[in-house]
Symmetry: C2
Subunit: 192 residues, 2 copies
């Protein structure tokens, strides 16, 4: 009886393989059988760790959410003490992400797209991530003493998601710099 959330090497390997294939080709485009073949794992092992493909996807999104936010925090911390620099560091992080060899859009936007219904577990999990990131931004805006931190964070979220879509369409990093420049201008307005 495998406890649903027990860490295990097989489970981790399965998730890593599933992540790679889902992110490359899409959730519906990739079948369980392909994941199993690429991972070299038996089907029952998957179904002992996850009740369904859907639960596997939700687990992947939750894991990615944790890792991605941790990565942003790391970048922000490395940016020093200046609240402005810390906020703008998020956009540098974006640019680096876009420039990576395997960048293929935002898995959360793609999950919202592939499972468009509001009540679907995957849709909700994906949106939860976006809300969490917006809250991170709000804290950074507050630290920067912006007049309306929640409002600025909302706007910065729009810029970020728009930039991600643009980077997915162009395969270039320019959108991150555009978004950064706009963010800097808005922050100046909001603190001036």
């Amino acid at each position: 009886m495998p406890a649903a959330e027990t860490a295990s090497p097989k489970r981790d390997h399965l998730m890593a393989t599933a992540w790679r294939l889902f992110y490359r080709d899409g959730f519906r485009a990739v079948g369980i059988d392909l994941i199993l073949a690429e991972a070299g794992v038996a089907k029952m092992t998957l179904y002992n760790h996850f009740a369904s493909k859907e639960e596997l996807i939700v687990a992947l999104l939750e894991k990615r959410d944790r890792e991605l936010r941790a990565s942003i925090v790391e970048t922000v911390e490395a940016a020093g003490k200046s609240p402005t620099k810390r906020l703008l560091a998020v956009f540098d992080w974006l640019e680096e992400w876009f420039g990576g060899a395997d960048f293929n859009g935002c898995v959360f936007i793609r999950a919202l797209s592939e499972y468009p219904e509001a009540s679907h577990a995957i849709h909700r999990t994906a949106w939860n991530h976006k809300v969490a990131v917006k809250e991170m931004l709000a804290q950074l805006c507050e630290a920067a003493e912006a007049k309306n931190p929640a409002g600025l964070a909302e706007t910065l979220s729009l810029l970020i998601d728009g930039a991600i879509v643009a980077a997915h369409g162009t395969r270039e990093t320019g959108a991150a710099r555009s978004a950064r420049a706009t963010a800097a201008a808005l922050l100046k307005l909001a603190t001036g």
Copy 2:
């Protein structure tokens, strides 16, 4: 021998049904058979008008691109002569779209997401639309005598796509108003 692009009632009806189902559930989630059953059309009729499901999707995206841009132009023209009002009318158009009962995200962003590979015909068609909209925005920015019209149009594009993603996640229209307010502030900066 059905000419590939001849207009015909059957073809139009097929496209309307396919559009409704694809937009509601997603491209990969909806099978040809369901479209045919809902449209009450024989399979060979579809394959006489479109070489494949992929070509049907491309045709739908191109049609939607034309209609959507025409709809924006209409809104802009109805907004009067003031270049500022004309530009901001795009965001009013957004808000109305988000508030519609059947809003379910942007089909182009969703197509980019479902067919993430850059070279895929559907991916490219979807991105073409975003480029075309950005060019429309650039013209409006130019008319408003913004200092860097292409740059402002790029930023406005980011805001718009970000707002669409947010509206899809929240099912609320607030993101359109946030984007509009930011656009107004940026336009003021760019013309002041």
